[in-house]
Amino acid sequence: MPSQRFSPFERIMITRQRPLETAWWLILGWILRQRTSTESADSLQQRLSRLTRTDAWDPALAKVLEIAKAPSLDDIQLACEQMAASEQAGMPWLSQAIHAANEGGYLSLPNQQILYLLADLLKVSPAGLAEQFKTIAETPMALASARFQRIKDAYDDLMKPGH
């Protein structure tokens, strides 16, 4: 059967021993790629390996992070289904996702929505997510999101012609 019938992410999922870990890498990579700060691929790889406590030089990690630049909807869905099927508690996963999404007390709108999606997927209540976010980011989620919006508006004003 030709290998083209599998996406690059699917091939990694099939061949790696730990599909759950691979699925989680893609989701965290997707979050890291939504951050506003520009980080090198090496830096993101180090960050992802620290978050997940995996070997930074695992070749699959770099490949998944590359896929996370512009993942297909099917790949993200596959990763989400894998997470939903796992019987592990949702909060530890969500904590890692919050660490990945939070940029020093700022939270972009896409990352806020990804956290909401993960919370629903992992069956974490809105109150549970809000509390965990506040614990990790040391700021309420709504404030982190509003701060991001204010910074974005200020940047947009600064970039206006004639400023």
Binding site: M1, R5, F6, E10, M13, I14, Q34, L73, D74, D75, I76, Q77, L78, C80, E81, Q82, A84, A85, S108, L109, P110, Q113, I114, Y116, L117, A119, D120, L121, S125, P126, L129, D156, M159, K160
Partner: protein, 136 residues
Amino acid sequence: MTFTSRLDLPPQTSQQPLDQAVSRCRHRRLKQDAEAVLLVPDRRARYDAMRTTVWQISTLRSRLGLDHGAHWQGKMAVDFTPQTGATKRCQASLGKRAEAARLHAERWPRWRIHGLLITLLMTGIGIGALITMHLR
């Protein structure tokens, strides 16, 4: 709210009709806001990237049966929930395709051995026939 909903357009309106709607808009403030974002390439790129991600999330929610989740309420859900929900199961599909690939991979060496044996047999018969003809 997104500019598309504020301009009373369908959520996935493409660039040209969106630009036309902005130029036709009579609401001064809305027109200013839309132009400030949509007509500046850098901002437009960021707005489009953000919108694409939120659309991906809303489609995922629909496919995963999470479009009534506790975290998907209010304006965002109203603006971005797809009109037609298409359920899809990627994990099951991958499982089926991987199993088919495994069976194919297992079958292939068996056919190769059979093919090799048949080829050897036919070659032997051919050589035998040639030798017989030569001896006559």
